[in-house]
Symmetry: D3
Subunit: 339 residues, 6 copies
């Protein structure tokens, strides 16, 4: 069915050694798919909100499998373009304890990197939709992808959709300078800006808290949100606060800043199964909560609960149902068996 | 060989996605079997105490596999009835961190639900046995199962066996009202009552401690044990105290109340591998310790150590040997490599 | 390529049930290889230091697979002798929480146990090498293995190599008395002695800290190192300090004692994936650091960081690269995703 | 998207031991889904023909997974009813050589068996569709399912859809007498009747060739088709001719009988990977070919080629693309690597 | 329950790479158990005939797992001795096409090789039993094992049991000369001699047909059976006739020679899943058929059908039920799906 | 150790769904590596002939794993260049029966495609070597790769090495015209030309037998070999003759044409496990046999036997030992268990 929410970006083949094995020792790779904007669409579909994902994928069976996996969850893939030579791949080694997870990208020359503004009829794509979401990865894929993203955001704004953007800075894709310049051109079309604790500084030079220490200082985050709001005129800014205790254990909470007021969620101490996609499930949770009219505090609690649960799920996709998020957001974090 | 202990109840096919996968994403299901009373028989057999399990299973290869798995561990299955159309199934998703494990039952219309009092010759079953154990699940399967269970308990009592019952309330099987009524009729035949922190309230309306908070208040548990003892005249009451910190981490201890005196075990902080069957391994540990003559404190320590170890074992069955339980009960919880 | 470091000892086929399964329930066994001295050679090769491993293995495909696995990592296996009837096997059950890992040895009658001093031309083996390492397991394999080890150590010393020995006491292989006597004859050729918190007492009767309590008392370890140094004239003594909180969680740090001065590393709290080979990766890290000229404090930090990471890797072998150890040794233990 | 073809029936959870293992020995079961009419919809979607599947499934995650797997392939599941307590399960052991595959059904009390004629708005379901397909399994599920099926066929006929039915006799679901009676009431709404070599006799007492001998006698099949046509006035009859050489090897061909003329396909000698769903993929291939206007000979060649390829695919679903079927139907059965 | 049939010999841990992988490439080994005499006991238990297996196994969890796997199938293991240091192991690579399966033995120093005649109270073991079976592997394990086997056979004969022996020559265990000498001393106690096409020549120098050509000459086999009968006075001789077309395909039939008359079974062309244990399942089928009173022709048909099915089962054990064998023996080799 | 034989080309990450699964349905991909020239080096190392492989690979862990896998088998990888951005990938679906295996390439922009003639010091690489081998895939990777290959062949010829080339035409890499032109420039440096039944026509327009029919006409192959010899002055031409009966079954034989005389090998009927790399194992077998001085007939028998066995091995690499090839070449194709 057509999506209330449209997301646009790259989705990659994700190849992971089972358990905590390294690439140097594994006999097999688990096959899954993931990418920031696709992950958001998946989360929304799981929660019951119609969502469409726009990307460009080649005509081969790996790409078809990707589309099938999205369709399975109910994501509308009818606007996926088919063309180009390959889809991006990333190899993920799951870390544990003091050993970080590692990501090895093989994403150059992907079909989506070759997208051009003329390829998508955004008016058709956005017909009937209410929300458009993208992340900083999409414009980082290249100039024509950035142009296409800009056209999408501009069209969405013109058609009255709410536009959200997750800064999502990836240092292997572009420099801070380039990111700052390109993203600044996109921000005028954005209503709600989402970031993690490092993005604001990396992209716009707005200083955030020190992150490797695992310490969280609330005041500094509020200040970052305030600065972002002032510079770009966002309706709201949402920030995820990750405390990296180890690869196995994280603190996790969030800040929603709107109308000049900060709203912090409760904090979860998480035993990590798979943290990739954590930020995306936060964005999706926030979009979901705001679309159904939750107030600021309820929305940030919902978003953080949704993304908290994501950390217990294998893969980029947040296979979590609405009632599960609501139970956790309502305060039951005991993990007792449901029978 | 014939069992010193006889248990009676349902055993189900247990189907579990590997790792922390959800049913929505798993390509395979691990095949195992489990059920409260069967789990107790298995634990006892592993500890070296002859145990027999009575149930009713259809004549097909899934049921035969179940019998084979029980025989492998040394459980006496000669009294298992064959008949009916299907055996119950339960799908288990292992939770992690804030995401609880979930159990999806497909157990209606099982062979054991169709059991009737005339099908079992309890005098023959109990010949030579010293202990009979059942749980609140068996009478919850239906009126004729409850009747059969009552006949069993009555016969056991008459033949001089010690009778233990684990309240094991399952809200999907029956209401609190029904449970309270039926169980009250069974209690007169019971010597030792076993319960977790919620059962007493659910079944008999005896209030226990609040559980989602993860706090344990010793005094309240003693009071629950006292009330149970007074109402039904049990020789002893044993209660497991689970602190649900998260799906990955629990506090675990136990109370043995006999002769008006409470005996609390030491408390373990457990990193959970699989907590299903934890209560059953406690019951088995307690039965084992009491049968060999342990005093109250030693018995509760043994029962809690046995069930603590269960949490580190995959599956319902507690594949733990006697010396392993004794080492832990003796105080070595360091987890150092045994070589 | 020829090794800067030569290690000598037994390597075994390591068979492990996947996940936390027990031998009583697993359908498959993961096939890997491991042994104290081989693990050290592997770690060094992974770090970029040429290393050769000397052992004796039969002429069959299991042994060939073992050699292939070592060659894959770049270990020089050209001095491996082929002969004898079998290679040792060990079955490893991974523990969790309060359940310890268990090791079941089937190593008697191995090819290496049948080695005799005349079989190896140590002068040829050591040509061009700078360091020789063995552990207390090698002489424990039998008198002729002990003789061969002694000849190796003596030749190494004569040829100017640095010699290190890890006491590595294995109670299933020999008595404390026998170990003390044989090891005392080897120590005169040793420059650097490595031990864990129990070895010094088991082998030489030098009392160390109590270990099952999980408490670490720094002063006692310094005293142990001092006594060892005084008795045998070592240039340095290194001790690993393991706090066994549970099978899932350990504290981990190290002491390097040289020139009468103790140097303690920082302490890591580790979520354990596989702790077998932890001590070997410490020895390798220490050798690596000392060979490249690190000072005492830097060397112990490097060794402890290398072995800390080993605990997050499946198998005996430490699949960790130099830059990963250096990042951790430099202080980043946050486990944040590397992309 | 809405389906050109609508199919209606039961889909079950299919649980299979990997490889050639038996239920008595397997540690895991592969999770897939399958059922005659669903398999037809899947095949059509894979070939590029929009297809919708109508059934009734409970509200739980196993049923949701089933829907997701259908959606992944592009089957329209919007008309799937949610309700009832369970979905059917079947356990499949893959046979080999002289050992037949075995199917163990646990399908009683399924949601679809509880369907009633008032639950489905067939006019809405069939809006825009051109073809309706069902098999003899659907009416065998019970009287109300048969009534619902009859209403569907009647409505389809009235709305001008072509109706096809696969006799698909299942002796464990109903007797020959009952099948003959119920199916005879449905046949007046059927345009194209599909059957295997045994169905016509089992359901309608029309004698076919002897099958256990593996011999095929063309004349007898033509006679069966002729009799079926005469009795029920079908536009066409299609029969699959399976020669069961062993569980590993079959001969496979088909007959399409229309306008009084028989059209036999070429015959394939098949090395079997998984033969379950072979007949369904034949029905789908036939429907696909006829819908696009293939002549009789071309249609039977296409249907047999499509189902020939199914035998090389694991699972009930025929993951075969249009070009693959066309290459085989065009005569290339060499199995040469496609690169 | 006590066994009607008693078998005596070695059972080994069988470790197999999955699929057709070689030891040089596999990441895991499938864990199973197998051995000639144990396989016979398992087959009989599967067919419903009480069977006991006598061996000697060490006290460790690998051996306990072996006992559990036997108990699961219903084999009486109460007479298994516990002692010694290790159990034998064999590594099996499954062959395919022109590549033969390979067996790598690591069976020296096993507990059973250390058995001595005084360890078993055969009178107790044989109480109530009717048949004793051993193979040429048992006496090949060493002189004391041969002595023990001889005592067993002698006692069985004295107690009126029927004694069968499968010559089962293993060239890696002993020379032809030694085998001929030792086996000749055992034959006087044997009623029924079982052999494959090579054994009679290897052990007793009685020439059989050439085997690598895959040709079978009936007359020569009859002559071999006649010679065996004349030399040792057997009541009957049974010979399996294997035509080794390739590792993937075999011809399979059998000869039963009794009362001077040969009875050949029908011949099966087998697609091989796992041929190890094929001969043992033949022996078991023959024993089963003779014990229930089948005539010569029916017995050889049953034995060959049972062992034909074994070739389709993974592992040494023949997980085949009585009705399956009877269906095949009755002539249905079509491999059609059983539903 | 340095290689007697040097091969040069691309090696790719090979990703394969387990069993006969398709990309559309598999949860995991088996990780292996393969490429024509690497496969030849691997085969030679397995047979005991020192072999070196030259390629260019990026500096990442996937490429390092590839190097490790080659080192494991003993291939000399010291001349592998590290640089570029990615290594090629190919996805392989294993076919069965009438369904062909499919290869999906993702190899553009690989490090080896970016190689330039100045990157390799061929004189150093060839020092001490006797044979150089490449295939038509290497020059097909691009003009600079073709230039590098030409320089290698020219240098090898000048340094007195025997040069062999496998035509190995890949239509997805270049057109027939381009291939014909480039290959013609390389042929003057080639001593021995290897081809399959299609290559000669595809590359040089020399007509061979029709292949999809599965028929082999000996005379036509001799004529192709004669024409190739005459046009390019080869010392010998070797052709593999594959009869594609189905994806599960092939006929396989070979022709060695030298001195104007054809030598045909015996023909094998193969049950296929994995046919990728079949041609490479033939080339390696031929090189091995010729280097040790086998005469023409013996050489072609050895080459065909080696490659026949490859078809039973999973993966590109031929894990077959010298004695296994010799046993088959000597005539034992019975596939009998080796114990």
């Amino acid at each position: 069915m057509p999506g209330d929410v449209v997301t646009f970006g790259e989705i990659m083949l994700r190849l992971t050694p089972p358990g905590f094995q390294r690439i140097l020792q594994t006999p097999v790779l688990e096959l899954r798919f993931g990418g920031g904007e696709a992950n958001v669409a998946v989360s929304l579909a799981m929660l019951g909100r119609p969502a469409a994902f726009v990307t460009r994928l080649p005509k081969n069976d790996v790409a078809q499998r990707c589309i099938n996996d999205l369709r399975a969850i109910g994501v509308d893939t009818r606007h996926v373009l088919r063309g180009g030579d390959r889809m991006g791949i990333y190899f993920l080694e799951a870390g544990a304890s003091q050993r970080p997870s590692t990501v090895l990208y093989d994403r150059a020359h992907s079909a989506i990197a070759g997208i051009t503004p003329d390829m998508v009829d955004w008016k058709k794509v956005f017909a009937g939709a209410k929300w458009f979401h993208f992340t900083g990865i999409t414009p980082a894929l290249g100039d024509s992808a950035a142009e296409t993203c800009k056209l999408a955001a501009k069209t969405a704004r013109e058609m009255g959709l709410t536009v959200s953007a997750d800064l999502n800075y990836r240092k292997k894709l572009w420099s801070r300078e380039k990111a700052g310049k390109v993203m600044a051109e996109l921000m005028p079309f954005v209503d709600i800006c989402i970031a993690n604790e490092e993005d604001a500084e990396s992209v716009f030079g707005i200083e955030g808290a020190e992150v490797t220490s695992g310490k969280i200082e609330h005041a500094r985050y509020v200040d970052v949100a305030r600065q972002l709001t002032e510079r770009f005129g966002f309706k709201a800014v949402a920030i995820t606060l990750r405390e990296s205790i180890s690869a196995s254990e994280n603190g996790w909470s969030g800040l929603y800043y709107a109308g000049g007021k900060p709203h912090f969620s409760r904090r979860y101490r998480i035993q990590i199964v798979d943290r990739v996609g954590g930020g995306d499930s936060f964005a999706a949770g926030l979009i979901f909560a705001l679309m159904r009219g939750d107030d600021a505090q309820k929305a940030i609690e919902f978003a953080v609960a949704a993304s908290c649960l994501k950390h217990s799920i294998v893969g980029d996709f947040n296979y979590t149902a609405l009632n599960e998020v609501e139970t956790l957001a309502a305060g039951d974090a005991s993990g007792r068996v449901q029978r």
